[in-house]
């Protein structure tokens, strides 16, 4: 009973701090909401659409023009310019006006009619991977379709049925099933990693910050005194209100993306609740641990921010962990975001039971428990260290 009373006192004290220092309001509410809005609105289309492409049509016949028109009709590409030569088209890519171009050499139609298999080319820049890959797909489809159209005409003239023509042109068909994200939406695939990653960054930083400022503003002894010098009570009391705010934020994010924006999720709502809970607690655990490891405000915050930024790469969502070197694959276990992402991927996105990702769950549990290792050191620091600017 007395313990509860102490926790309550420390919590009240912490609430006062949270309200008085504007930094908390910005980092726990304003900035996280801003990143949420930023990423979901940036990739609102899901896939980039109407990306500017150019055409070098040296043939300039009705056939080549219809090819260009068809390219324009695709969702991803928009023909914005015609060039007299490849050199000029390439220059316009370098000037960032177009991302790709189609080159139709002179005599294409003539050769096509004569059955001499003319060759068209498309050039696309891979300096932006997303636009490069998507435009490549469009341009490839155009060329295949153009080819098929001509082949179809010849074969029909020879008296084949449509099914036969189809089979001849494409004997083996690939039937693609994109599990859980049939729209290939980049929004649902990037925002679900980046926003939680940045929320975790804030949790890391604020956890270390709120401990470090006790030293910095010389209130550490007061804090411990409020908890009767019991560091566990002091820590719980201090982080309880923060945990609640973070949970509110995380659940607000989950509600927004999964129920308002309808990002794909096959897991149950309970899984989302559990995911949010372990995300917040593991990140807090890491932040407290980082401070305990080096009880200096600036060092622990530096480590937290470097770790958080690095975890956005080590999470392996854009570039898979399995493509990294072996040592890095092992290191990826040290990043809470990695386990969060795997848990999300297995049990929310694909809707498999939690059992399939139990080791990632266990890893997050380990992060939650990490402050135990350093709690004594934190107490010692609070009682004896003096802040040096």
């Amino acid at each position: 009973m007395k313990t509860l009373r102490l926790i309550y006192d420390v919590t009240l004290r912490e609430l006062m701090i949270l309200m008085r220092n504007r930094v908390y309001m910005f980092c726990m509410v304003v900035f996280p909401l801003l990143t949420m809005v930023f990423f979901t609105s940036l990739m609102d289309d899901g896939l980039p659409t109407s990306m500017p492409v150019g055409v070098v049509d040296l043939d300039n016949t009705s056939t080549s023009r219809s090819l260009v028109q068809r390219l324009d009709a695709f969702q991803m590409s928009k023909v914005v310019a015609h060039y007299p030569s490849v050199t000029e088209a390439r220059r316009d890519i370098q000037e960032n006006n177009i991302y790709a171009f189609l080159y139709i050499p002179k005599g294409t139609t003539e050769n096509l009619m004569a059955g001499r298999q003319p060759k068209i080319s498309f050039y696309y820049s891979y300096t932006t991977l997303a636009s490069g890959a998507l435009l490549m797909k469009d341009l490839k489809t155009i060329s295949t379709l153009g080819s098929a159209a001509v082949g179809q005409a010849t074969m029909r003239a020879k008296g084949y049925t449509d099914a036969q023509i189809q089979t001849f042109l494409q004997p083996i068909r690939i039937d693609l099933h994109q599990i859980a994200n049939p729209w290939t939406s980049y929004n649902s695939y990037l925002s679900t990693m980046l926003v939680p990653g940045l929320i975790m960054l804030f949790i890391f930083l604020i956890s270390a910050y709120s401990l470090g400022t006790e030293l910095k503003f010389d209130t550490a002894k007061d804090w411990l005194a409020k908890a009767d010098n019991r560091i566990v009570v002091a820590t719980i009391g201090k982080f309880l209100p923060q945990t609640l705010i973070w949970l509110a934020l995380v659940y607000c994010y989950e509600y927004y993306v999964f129920y308002v924006l309808h990002f794909p999720h096959l897991g149950s709502p309970w899984m989302l609740i559990l995911l949010g809970l372990v995300q917040v607690l593991a990140a807090q655990g890491f932040g407290i641990f980082a401070f305990g490891l080096m009880p200096s405000l600036r060092m622990s915050m530096s480590v937290c921010s470097l770790w958080a930024v690095l975890s956005l790469s080590m999470v392996g969502s854009a570039f898979p962990v399995m493509g990294m070197d072996g040592a890095l694959q092992a290191l990826s276990w040290l990043f809470p975001l990695r386990h969060y992402y795997m848990l999300y991927q297995v049990s929310v996105f694909n809707g498999f039971p939690l059992l399939e990702a139990w080791f990632h769950f266990a890893a997050l549990a380990a992060f939650i428990l990490m402050p135990w290792l350093v709690i004594k050191k934190i107490k010692n620091a609070m009682l004896t260290y003096v802040y040096i600017p």
Partner: protein, 411 residues
């Protein structure tokens, strides 16, 4: 008062004094050192290491072969032989295959139905179903594109058998009357590192500079007895001397760091490096200056040294997206486009990627370079204004402290 007070010599002396003080502070402050030296040195290496394999190879897939024919086995063999896909398991049915996906052992399923071969030889399309785990775009691409490629290769072989043409040339033309070539330029292998790192390198430069300058300013405030950025001492009387002196210190450090980031690191890891040093210098000079003055403006907002971390670290990722490297620039909503103009990194990254990865000339990126000079100029004046205000504050406070003191004396 001697002539020295406003003489040319005096200005130079003051500037150098401030430069020396700032340099001393940077070296003494481990927090600043981390951001000025350690991070720019280590981070690029770390990132390059993460992405040094560029693409994923041998993505594991599971095959459900219900056909058990030579044709289906050929498909499996050809997929396995490709660089991108590895057939890791065989499963009896789709459910078994799904459980392998759920355990993360494979990233996709190839399902070959029992009527596959008979369909093909009956002049009907044979269908192969491909199921992809969509949580990773790169593995999805590898699995899907391999299946597509193999099916096309096998398709053209079949066309040869089915077509009844006389020469192979005839067959080729019948199957594909219009030939095409796709040419990936500027990053031919589609490497992930070559695509993302140039942007990251330039961004590291801006972010570490702003963090370092902000921290150094925070320290200056904390060391100061009255929590002010500008100490009341003779050399710190003139805005221009302060701004010049401090920026000179940062510029010296970042001349080295910048060269390391944009010249040495890409070379070490064999990323595309098409620009010579002259165009790079043309870009880096305004970019570094713009970042320095931008950092100095930001640093004036910072009351405590740690707050700059809370402010600057999280926007790194949005900044990277706003440059148009991760997400095509043409698809960034207008509002965020506008917001991105505030930051030098937006134009610095764009210009660097085009110069270095795409082989553009300085003329091709002249707009970006011009904007960077404009940034440098505007942020320089803004820095002067905010530092002027800081001087005013310092004097103002000092005056009132003086008045207070006088009053107390008189009592």
């Amino acid at each position: 008062m001697s002539i020295y007070r406003n003489s040319f010599r005096r200005r130079i002396d003051d500037t150098f004094f401030i430069w020396r003080e700032e340099l001393k502070q940077v070296i003494k402050d481990e927090g600043v050192l981390i951001f000025f030296v350690i991070v720019p040195l280590i981070y690029p290496l770390l990132y390059s290491w993460i992405y040094n394999n560029e693409t994923v190879h041998d993505v594991p897939v599971v095959v459900v072969d219900q056909s058990h024919t030579s044709l289906s086995r050929q498909f499996i063999r050809m997929c396995d032989a490709s660089a991108d896909v590895k057939v890791a398991y065989y499963a009896q049915d789709l459910d078994e295959a799904k459980s392998l996906v759920s355990r993360q052992l494979v990233k996709g399923i190839y399902l070959i139905p029992s009527d596959f071969e008979s369909n093909v030889y009956r002049m009907q399309q044979g269908t192969i179903s491909v199921y992809c785990d969509m949580s990773l775009m790169l593995t999805y691409k590898a699995i899907f594109q391999t299946a597509q490629l193999v099916s096309m290769q096998m398709g053209s072989e079949l066309q040869t058998k089915l077509g009844g043409h006389y020469t192979s040339r005839e067959e080729a033309i019948a199957a594909r009357p219009l030939d095409y070539a796709d040419v990936a330029i500027f990053n031919p292998q589609g490497g992930y590192g070559s695509f993302v790192l140039p942007g990251v390198l330039m961004l590291i430069l801006q972010q570490t500079l702003v963090l370092g300058i902000g921290m150094s300013a925070g320290t200056a405030r904390e060391r100061n007895r009255y929590g002010q950025l500008i100490p009341i001492s003779r050399p710190y009387q003139n805005v221009f001397r302060i701004v010049f002196g401090k920026s000179l210190c940062y510029f010296m450090i970042y001349a080295l760091m910048g060269a390391w980031l944009v010249v040495v690191v890409p070379r070490m890891f064999h990323f595309p490096q098409l620009a010579a040093w002259q165009p790079l210098l043309t870009l880096m000079l305004p970019y570094t200056l713009a970042c320095i003055f931008f950092g100095m403006v930001v640093s004036c907002i910072v009351r405590y040294r740690e707050n700059v971390m809370l402010l600057m670290v999280f926007i790194s990722v949005p900044l990277l997206f706003m440059t148009g490297v991760s997400w095509p620039q043409s698809n960034i909503p207008g509002f965020w486009q506008g917001a991105s103009w505030v930051f030098p990194s937006t134009f610095g990254v764009r210009a660097y990627v085009r110069l270095n990865s795409m082989g553009a000339s300085v003329g091709d990126v002249s707009t970006e370079i011009l904007i960077l000079w404009l940034h440098a100029f505007l942020y320089f004046w803004l820095a002067c204004v905010v530092y002027g205000y800081q001087i005013y504050l310092a004097r103002h406070d000092a005056f009132w402290r003086f008045v207070e003191m006088k009053k107390r004396r008189q009592k």
